[in-house]
């Protein structure tokens, strides 16, 4: 299973806000890793990939600041010495990569928008809303990718 499908599964299985925040945090970071891996493969997708990577980083860092985010998740993330290198869709075309990431970001945006509406604390609501906008942006940047 690659990182994108794994991230989608975690979002699907999240049962409460802390679990969703954890899954979202990881999903943004997974998207970032995949996009950086494929960044230089094609001049035509370079702009969309780098802008999506920035949106993923912004989404990850905003969701990390949510008050209900389990601190251990953030602590272990920053404590790791090197990012994992597996599951980066190495065999896929850039269009397949773009569409896979777009699909994850669409799912993530929907989940975070719902969480923003349901969360009790204003900090969680704001973090989810901001992060949902970043996910939506990724979907708009990558969702129209078509094979030439």
């Amino acid at each position: 299973m690659n990182r994108i499908t794994a991230a989608r599964a975690r979002i699907d299985h999240a049962e409460d806000l802390p679990e969703l925040l954890t899954a979202a945090f990881t999903a943004f970071d997974d998207m970032l890793a995949v996009l950086h891996y494929h960044l230089e493969r094609d001049d035509g997708t370079f702009a969309a990939f780098i802008l999506s990577a920035t949106a993923a980083a912004n989404g990850r860092d905003r969701i990390a600041a949510a008050p209900s985010q389990p601190p251990a998740v953030i602590a272990s993330f920053y404590a790791r010495r090197a990012p994992e290198s597996g599951g980066l869709l190495a065999e896929a075309t850039v269009i397949q990569v773009a569409l896979a990431v777009a699909g994850l970001s669409e799912q993530l945006a929907g989940s975070l928008e719902a969480a923003a509406g349901a969360a009790a604390g204003p900090g969680d609501r704001a973090s989810c809303a901001h992060a949902a906008r970043h996910a939506t942006r990724i979907r708009s940047l990558l969702g129209r990718a078509r094979e030439p």
Binding site: G44, I50, L51, T54, N58, R144
Partner: protein, 596 residues
């Protein structure tokens, strides 16, 4: 006014004096601006004043004297009677006053004036306006204007019948013009000592008004020329908004991690687009270009690629950092997104290109991009503006981050802090040392962008692209910021720009003209007599000053006949003539300005 037999209006010294007074008022304001700008420059207050500092001081004094001399004439009421046409010279002086007022207002759109004469920046052009090179160029122009105006006024002051004007008005007009000659000679002396490069004069004339073109986006139907202009307009908007954000960094809610990260990301895209454009031009057929630019264009494309990589590192350096506010995207970041779109529309063949358009889009071929040399100038100018903007953006964003760090607005997770930090929150303000890698990444992005910009600037200069002025502007501010000498930008020497000495008739020759004499040998004898008379006066004045160095020269211009000789001497460009000028104490009322 009485009409002359040929139908022209007779001259009127009163009219000319009034108009000259208005013009001197505007010129005095320029002189005050030069003084205020000089006070902000690094060389001010160090050691002996240089030639231009001396010239600035003389300009201020001579204009004050000249204005004081003409002040009472303005106070005299116009003679009642039927309306008459003003003197043609007065009309020319009025037009000059209007034009110079407008020119000064253009410069002042970049500045805010505060009580006491202090000038503050209102745009990113302000450091250029206040730079030493531009200040000197302005003073040089002040001398040029004086050089043009003085003979006009002198001619009216000494005009024979049917000229009009009271003797007092003529005497004062003559004396005021002598001060303008004096100003001209002081500026010429400074220019001989430390020449103003032509590029600085061009820079002064190229300074735009501080008015941004309204935000607009490409609709997909633009030809290359309009895409180039859109790129240049948007690049200026990015520079302005980025510059304006720096002083607000300590409190602005628009200073967010998202804004700064997005700005840097768009800088990557813009650098990438510039790289594609330069690569395409490097491969264009040789016969279309006057010079072989393939190698410089390829090097410029590589440099744009290096800038792209440096900006990528700046984006990555944000890892683990956050700002105290979030969600808001700054104006500069939004404008940078527009610039990415404009440069992308230029770089790609697809008319509706967007960053999210996917991989089915090929770069625009060179034959479409620049089929003629003039098109190449436009494209290079667009790339040059975009790269200059990236250089400025790296600088302004670096300063914003530094302020955010210093004011506790830059945060990092407590888990990444040393264990000695006992902080019960998830995020904490970063220690200065932890902000340093991010700041260093922006400094690297600035250096790489500046290098890329310099490569393109070389090409812009080689082909005469209109963006050359950016190079001069950056050098001007750099010269002011670095050292007073700034040797790197003073060379090469400017082209010789001597002001021609005015070949005006002297008093004897003037009389012969009035008598209707046209024989060249007779007029030459008169000119020789005038010259001999002037040399005798200069010699006598010199001997007098050697006998009594402390004695001030008498006011030789009180007599109309001697005033004409002194004016002719000054017009000849002989700097010794200024020693003959009496230095009157200005009246207090001379300080009171009137609206031109």
């Amino acid at each position: 006014m009485r009409a002359t037999p040929d139908g022209a209006c007779a001259s009127n010294a009163d009219d000319v004096a009034c108009s000259l007074r208005r013009l001197l008022t505007v010129m005095s304001r320029f002189a005050a601006d030069i003084k205020a700008a000089s006070g902000r420059q690094p060389s001010a207050g160090r050691g002996q004043p240089g030639p231009w500092e001396h010239a600035a001081s003389r300009a201020s004094e001579t204009l004050r004297y000249a204005a004081a001399l003409l002040q009472p004439i303005l106070a005299q009421p116009r003679q009642p009677g039927r309306a008459r046409q003003p003197d043609p010279v007065a009309r020319r002086l009025d037009a000059a006053a209007t034009a110079l007022t407008a020119g000064r207002e253009v410069l002042h759109t970049h500045l805010a004036s505060y009580p006491g004469g202090e000038l503050r920046a209102r745009s990113e052009w302000a450091p250029v306006v206040l730079s030493a090179p531009v200040t000197r160029a302005l003073l040089y122009e002040l001398g040029t204007w004086a050089h043009q105006i003085a003979p006009l006024g002198s001619e009216r002051a000494f005009a024979r019948a049917p000229a009009r004007g009271t003797p007092e008005a003529r005497r004062r007009l003559s004396a005021a013009c002598q001060r303008l000659w004096e100003l001209d000679l002081a500026v010429q002396a400074a220019d001989e000592n430390d020449p103003v490069p032509d590029q600085d004069l061009r820079l002064l004339h190229a300074i735009p008004a501080s008015v941004l073109v309204p935000r607009h986006l490409p609709d997909g139907a633009e030809p290359v020329t309009r895409l180039c202009q859109g790129t240049i307009d948007t690049a200026e908007r990015v520079r302005r908004h980025a510059w304006a954000a720096v002083p607000r960094a300590s409190w602005s809610p628009a200073l967010t991690m998202e804004s700064l990260r997005e700005s840097a990301t768009y800088a990557i895209v813009i650098s990438h687009n510039c790289q594609i454009l330069l690569s395409a031009l490097a491969t264009s057929p040789q016969p279309r270009r006057a010079a072989d630019l393939s190698a410089p264009l390829a090097e410029a494309a590589d440099a744009a690629g290096d800038a792209r990589q440096a900006w990528l590192q700046a984006v990555r350096a944000w890892h683990g950092l956050l700002t105290d506010t979030g969600g808001t995207i700054s104006r500069a970041a939004k404008e940078a997104a527009d610039l990415a779109l404009w440069t992308g529309r230029l770089a790609y063949a697809t008319p509706g290109w967007t960053p999210g358009a996917g991989p089915a889009h090929l770069p625009r071929p060179a034959r479409d991009l620049a089929p003629r040399p003039a098109d190449l100038q436009q494209v290079i100018a667009a790339v040059h503006h975009a790269q200059d903007t990236m250089t400025q953006l790296a600088d302004t964003d670096h300063d914003q981050i530094r302020t955010a760090s210093a004011t506790g607005r830059l945060l990092m997770p407590v888990h990444t802090l040393p264990e000695s930090f006992d902080i019960p929150y998830l995020y904490s303000p970063v220690p200065a040392a932890s902000a340093e890698p991010l700041l260093a990444a922006y400094r690297d992005a600035h250096a790489a962008s500046a290098q890329a910009c310099a490569r393109t600037a070389t090409i812009a200069e080689a082909i005469g692209a209109p963006s050359q002025i950016l190079t001069t502007a950056r050098a001007a501010t750099q010269a002011s910021a670095d050292s007073p000498a700034a040797p790197s930008r003073r060379a090469p020497e400017p082209a010789a720009r001597p002001r021609p000495a005015m070949n005006l008739p002297g008093p004897v020759e003037h009389i012969l003209h009035d008598l209707g004499v046209t024989a060249p040998e007779t007029l030459q004898r008169a000119a020789t007599l005038d010259h001999a008379t002037e040399q005798l006066i200069l010699q006598a004045a010199h001997e007098q000053s050697m006998r009594d160095p402390a004695a001030a020269p008498p006011d030789l211009s009180r007599s109309a006949s001697t005033a004409e000789i002194i004016s002719h001497l000054l017009a000849s460009g002989d700097p010794r003539a200024t020693a003959l000028l009496h230095q009157p104490e200005p009246r207090p009322s001379a300080q009171a300005e009137i609206e031109p």
